[in-house]
Subunit: 314 residues, 2 copies
């Protein structure tokens, strides 16, 4: 497989970009004319670390790589813009599998209004992807950092979590596997939350406890989470019943890509409505921001655990 | 080595960014406020494909990865802006070696005015780097594409080539090894050429013949190159004498990261002066743009060769 031939096949599949992209793939660099501020994030996925080729189709791998990158833009409240894709291609990945992987990515790109504006292909010992995404906002203060949470804010979460952890454990259950392999970046919810005035935001990729910890650290506040209030995905609830585990034991696994945010109590109702309108999902209050440091998670029954202990329960 | 600990060590080393970068590493995404147009390019380097850990120090690997990415911005005539770095880290690369690699990158970043604004670390079977660079220009028409060459233009080249190919062949000669391992992205020359009105530009990374071919194809023109006019690096000339090969046999190896551009004859003198002032190197006329397609290289003595044949001579 020649690099230039594969590149030509890939370029044929790229739809015409947004007018913001003045020059797409095929030159030394892409040319864009951003208006306002940009949010830029990069994510790498490696075979055997972030996915397994025997458990995921090429299309799912492509989807997941772009989804995890876009989830970071969602967590900023940015609108998706451009993606730049590096593929490290092992000799046992066929040209058709590369195209299938790209098609998985392009389907999500189309759904989210993302332009694949450039990339690089290289040989590699095992499959890896590195995706840079650029999002846009009218001005830098319309983007939401991790650092703005204030004591007195409520802690809110979009959607339900636990599904991805259950999917990792039970890959033969289609609904759970898809949840883990085909996450939905909450771009619309993220923008709705940004407009509703959330003070800090992060996506739940590492685990609820760990990501709450990142937000607490950057905001220099403490967080209290009530595990009983965290909405558990129905499939995860079924799994917890089937395996005799407590529901909250499936909450800390990460990879659900829901959004965790802090918000002043008087903004809550507006934010709930905005998230429902934008994405048709719930926004649930799962805790509060307090003075101090660190994250304290209250389990049903009253026991308090540290984030590390909580995530490891999953 | 924990990802978060290494990240913390890395962040400590990052200097304060330019005011264009409103938020650097450590959040879900970096925030920038670009003015005018941006040029974005991504490059991946893989151990055993683009470098060898037994022949290059970690600092040289870091330098080369950023240099090859910035060279694409040079070829657009863009000013260097931000870099986003993915590191795939194998178990046998120590934390100190990661820091040394980063320091190699940071030294070049400082020299070129590039801010390391974000990145991602992951485990990997073998070392890989994927670097996204964003460059800036006042407007999109100040950036130079590969597609603007017109019949009647002259073909010009910055600096001298052949040094990298010689370095690959003779890694024990310090001067040659450095030329191959520590290329200089011609950012200042690229901006000078853009201001002098070059009509198309590309960096010579794949080989003079191959890269001339890319420019010819995108511009829908033919190119004629006079091999005797192409300036050969002195060290490569010495190597050609020592090994009894013709000098032009060292011209096609690529990885020199000089700039190849097309320019109207009446702009040539201004461009030569501008490149000399910007970077202290020569701009040499090595051929011309003609109607038609493809690249024809005239060897000393008159024989004509195709680009593929020419590059394979190196």
């Amino acid at each position: 497989m020649g690099e230039f031939e594969l590149l030509a096949r890939i370029r044929e599949r790229l739809p015409a970009p947004d007018s913001r992209v003045r020059l797409g793939s095929g030159d030394d660099a892409a040319i864009t004319v951003p208006a306002g501020a940009t949010a830029t994030s990069v994510d790498a996925l490696v075979d055997g670390v972030h996915f397994r080729r025997d458990l995921a189709t090429p299309a799912q791998i492509g989807h997941k790589a772009l989804a995890t990158a876009l989830s970071d833009l969602a967590a900023m409240g940015a609108k998706a813009g451009e993606a730049y894709v590096v593929l490290g291609i092992p000799t046992d990945l066929s040209e058709d599998e590369c195209i299938e992987l790209l098609d998985g990515m392009l389907a999500l790109a189309a759904k989210t209004g993302t332009d694949l504006a450039g990339g690089d292909l290289t040989r590699a010992d095992s499959l890896f992807l590195a995706i840079t995404v650029v999002g846009h906002a009218a001005s830098p203060d319309r983007l939401v950092k991790r650092s703005g949470a204030r004591p007195g804010d409520l802690l809110v979460l979009t959607g339900e979590i636990g599904g991805a952890a259950a999917g990792l454990e039970q890959p033969d259950i289609e609904e759970l596997r898809v949840r883990q392999l085909e996450p939905t970046p909450r771009l619309a919810a993220g923008q709705a939350l940004a407009e509703s005035g959330v003070t800090a935001m992060i996506d739940v990729s590492d685990g609820l406890g760990a990501d709450a910890g990142h937000l607490a650290e950057r905001s220099e506040v403490g967080l209290r989470i009530d595990a009983a209030a965290v909405p558990l995905a129905p499939a995860a609830r079924e799994l917890s019943e089937a395996t005799g585990r407590q529901p909250w034991q499936l909450l800390g696994g990460g990879e659900d890509y829901e959004l965790l945010a802090s918000i002043a109590p008087d903004q809550l109702e507006e934010a709930e409505q905005a998230v429902d309108e934008a994405e048709g999902i719930a926004l649930t209050t799962i805790g509060e921001v307090v003075a101090g440091t660190g994250v304290e998670i209250r389990l049903p029954g009253g026991r308090l655990v540290e984030p590390e202990g909580f995530d490891q329960l999953a």
